[in-house]
């Protein structure tokens, strides 16, 4: 089966080609390759996690404690390659001028926070994994390539970010739901592509909350056989419809309470434990 390039370069569809920049930068610095490990820092890590660090890492702050990885890049771009098994919950925080490539396998939850920028990260994730992604910052390019049963949810806000997610599903199930909250000056893109093979099931969803800015939701699906369980995708405006509002009011919510409750529930649904990192003023939610 040939590899199909889903995005157009026809003049009416401007697509991101910033990955070229990343590839060039990576080639220049020469450190995004997956090369041999100089030393593994297993002594700092719980037994089920081990990470390769690239020899010439230029990371300013790099801490690993329990199930948490925090990376902050300051001068120039810092490259890091991580590889490991997920069991339980793993929190990965990327801040500032960082490029992280990662390979994760296992069962569990990955909480992924990407802040600041410029930022180019590429993750290969395989297994029975929940991903919860929070993206906020400038010039963030995040790419996931996943296989297996993946439940990926998240929120993008504040800045300029582009999330590409290629989900390969066969005899399993994938689900994504991502909320883009755009305000004046923001440019947010969410691009999942589900490649559905035999026995697969997929549902991709982009939710748009627009308060200005430019917001692009492009869920695409490639179904390679009719022998799949289900394939659907949708893009929706997050708007409290009159009917939804009446429903909640007839169950005791005032209009303001209804808005706040829905936003709260949705953020809980999309971010889980990362929910508290999102501070939305009442003004940014209501119309």
């Amino acid at each position: 089966m040939k590899e199909y390039l889903p995005y157009g370069d026809s003049p009416t569809i401007r697509s991101y080609t910033r990955w070229e920049v990343f590839e060039e930068a990576a080639k220049r610095e020469g450190s995004a390759k997956v090369s041999g490990v100089e030393e593994s820092r297993e002594d700092l890590l719980p037994p089920h996690l081990w990470f390769d660090n690239l020899h010439n890492q230029k990371v300013s702050t790099f801490r690993i404690t329990d199930n948490k990885v925090s990376i902050e890049g300051k001068d120039g771009m810092s490259f890091l390659h991580l590889k490991g098994r997920v069991e339980g919950t793993l929190l990965i925080e990327e801040k500032g001028n960082v490029s992280v490539t990662g390979e994760l396998k296992g069962r569990g939850t990955v909480l992924h926070v990407v802040e600041g920028g410029p930022h180019y990260s590429r993750w290969n994730i395989e297994g029975d994994i929940n991903i919860r992604t929070l993206v906020k910052g400038e010039d963030i390019y995040l790419r996931y390539e996943t296989r297996g049963n993946i439940d990926a949810r998240g929120v993008s806000l504040e800045g300029r970010s582009d999330i590409n997610h290629e989900l390969h599903v066969e005899n399993g199930e994938v689900f994504t739901s991502h909320l883009l909250i755009g305000r004046e000056g923001d440019f947010l893109v969410y691009r999942p592509v589900a490649k559905v093979y035999r026995g697969g099931k997929s549902h991709l969803e982009a939710l748009l909350l627009k308060r200005g800015g430019f917001v692009v939701g492009v869920p695409s699906v490639e179904v390679y056989t009719s022998d799949v369980r289900a394939a659907s995708h949708s893009v929706k405006d997050l708007v409290l419809s009159e009917e939804q509002l009446f429903y909640l009011r007839s169950r005791g919510f005032s209009p303001e309470e209804a808005e706040r409750y829905l936003m709260d529930s949705l953020l809980q649904f999309l971010l889980g434990d990362l929910k508290d990192r999102v501070h939305l003023s009442a003004r940014s939610i209501s119309e």
Binding site: G8, P11, D227, A230, A231
Partner: protein, 441 residues
Amino acid sequence: MRTVGKVERSLVEEISRKKGEPEWMRQLRLQSLELFEKMRDPVWIKGIDEVDLDKLVLYEDVEVRADKWEELPDEIRRFYEELNLPEMEKKFLAGLSTSFDSEIVYSRAKEMLEERGVIMLPMEEAVRRYPEMVRKYFGRVFPPATHKYAALHYALWSGGVFVYVPKNVKIEFPVEAFFLISSEMFAQFEHSLIVVDEGASIHFIEGCSSPQFRKFSFHDGVVEAYVHKNAHLKFTTVQNWSRDIINFNNKRAIVEENGSVEWVEGAFGSKASFVYPSVTLQKNARARVTNFSISHQGEWKESGSKVFHLGEGSRSTVISKTISTGDGVSVYRGLLRINKGAKHAFSAISCDSLLMDEESKTFTYPHNQIEEETARVSYEATTSFLTEEQMFYMNSRGLDEDAAKAMIALGFLSDVVAELPPEYSAVFRKVLEYDFRGSVG
């Protein structure tokens, strides 16, 4: 996709000279040729590997491929025999004859249109007789610089129809261009321009669901439509060309304040088809795009729509229904763009694809770019499958596999069929049945 071969400048000049065109049209052709040479091949086109201009572009006037009824491919001949049409209609539909006349209904329709001031002419004639009017719109709705093959089209265009509906003239019956304009509709690079003036309305039908034969195997046509304030245009195309044709069809409408346009696009035939009827909407303008296609074994059919909301209160609805059989591929490629300032614009897009066989495939690439925060968008896509359960249900009610598939396909397309005029939906049914009985895979 690669383009090989060359189109000589002298050839383009010759075309223009032969048609007796005004200078501005000649210049447009030459500039478009230059554009074509400069522009890149579209890299996102899969489904065809190569377009060899030397082989595929025909410069002689359109002729028919077969001279005798017996020379037609079996499946086309058999189909018409089954349909039981009058001899002349059969020959015409099958592409054996380039003209069709003397059916009383159709000449009366022609008279009626003339009485009401509707201009309907072959495009070349319109360029000669109404140069100012044509010049106002030609190449403005769908500019040659849009993509490489639009540029090629403008260099080589020939045939097509020009329609002008005067202010406030409302034509109640669907106008079937196919019968009224005959040979002009069969060209490889045909260019049609429909202008509906303020308050007027017309439903224009192009094509026919019965299988058709064409001399060319590469088609690159353009339909431009300009709908003035408060006017309405419905443009229906049903294409069932023979299975070796590559079809690029470029359609776009600009709709002014309070106007509305409906594109109904059906693709049964051809080997590879890339058609995305498009609309640009001004204030309070409305658009409805209904797409359906069937992709059989070895085929690649792309459909979709590009909708640009510029004006406030603009509304669009896009419905796409595709069926894949054998290892056919159905692709939905759509763009929805809502510009800042298009306050309270609304768009609802729904795509459904039905996969009949194990190797059938469908790819969906929607692209939503929303810049206006008061705009409301909903987009939904689902994929359905022919399940063993459904087949068993049909079998246990006496339908064999092909009849069952036809029934299920018809059900799947039922709201699309509702958009077609009644005589079309009857033929449509028959075509679907025939399709499944005759198809491989």
